[in-house]
């Protein structure tokens, strides 16, 4: 699976290069905060909040083509649905790694 699939955003925005840059920048800026909110919810074992935050992150990252982040967020969402929070800590670690990999993949593209 790719860290960043450019095509996903390209299909949505066509030749709107300005939008492409703007949305990637916005995503990069806000995801660390989202991951921290999720980590906080995991610490508090707040399953409904974990589910909502993970769902949101899954959607946002899926839409910008951050496929690994989206996949990891999906696992966290599923775990919280099934009441299984044991793996959440481990998945959070993966999520941070996925984000670093994503940052690196887009660093060559973003202006």
């Amino acid at each position: 699976m790719m860290d960043f699939d450019r095509q996903v955003l390209q299909d949505q925005l066509g030749d709107d290069e300005e939008g492409f840059q703007e949305i990637l920048a916005l995503f990069l800026k806000t995801v660390p905060g989202n991951i921290e909110s999720l980590a906080e919810a995991v610490r508090k074992k707040d399953a409904p909040l974990i589910r909502r935050l993970a769902h949101s992150l899954k959607g946002a990252s899926g839409n910008v083509g951050a496929l690994k982040i989206s996949q990891t967020a999906k696992h966290i969402e599923q775990g919280s649905k099934e009441g299984d929070l044991n793996q959440a800590d481990e998945f959070l670690k993966y999520l941070r790694e996925d984000f670093r990999a994503f940052q690196e993949a887009v660093s060559r593209i973003i202006k």
Binding site: G14, L26, S56, G59
Partner: protein, 131 residues
């Protein structure tokens, strides 16, 4: 074409805004309550929306509840099917059940995110919102 985009997630909101502002005027709402307010305000000013893109998963009042509420408000105004606003539900779920529930609650279709520009425009043509 005047559109209201209802999305709690900023990335989805921004993408739809970029896509739809090519095609006309757009307003934004981040939750169900704001969406209903925007809908009522636009109706009051006699500048109703042609299209509402409505996320199914919203915090608090969810998209289906918003959809139902808008149809009730339109009913009270005596607006029949051809006159009422076109509503497209947006979802990143491939959850059929929720989508079917939404269609029964009288929306005009749904879009599974990510929504390619071409797919969006095809849907709008189908709804006769775009020539």
């Amino acid at each position: 074409m005047k559109t209201l985009i209802v999305e709690d997630d900023f990335v989805s909101r921004k993408i739809l805004l970029r896509q739809l502002s090519k095609l006309g005027e757009c307003d934004l709402a981040v939750n169900g309550t704001e969406a209903i307010e925007a809908f009522m305000q636009a109706s009051k000013e006699s500048e109703p929306y042609d299209l509402i893109c409505l996320d199914i998963m919203l915090p608090g009042m969810d998209g289906i509840a918003v959809l139902k509420k808008i149809r009730v408000l339109e009913g009270q105004e005596g607006l029949n099917t051809p006159k009422r606003v076109k509503i497209l539900m947006t979802t990143s779920l491939s959850d059929k059940e929720i989508v079917i529930k939404a269609i029964q609650a009288q929306c005009d279709g749904y879009l599974v995110k990510p929504v390619a520009q071409q797919k969006l425009e095809d849907k709008l043509k189908e709804l006769k919102l775009l020539a």
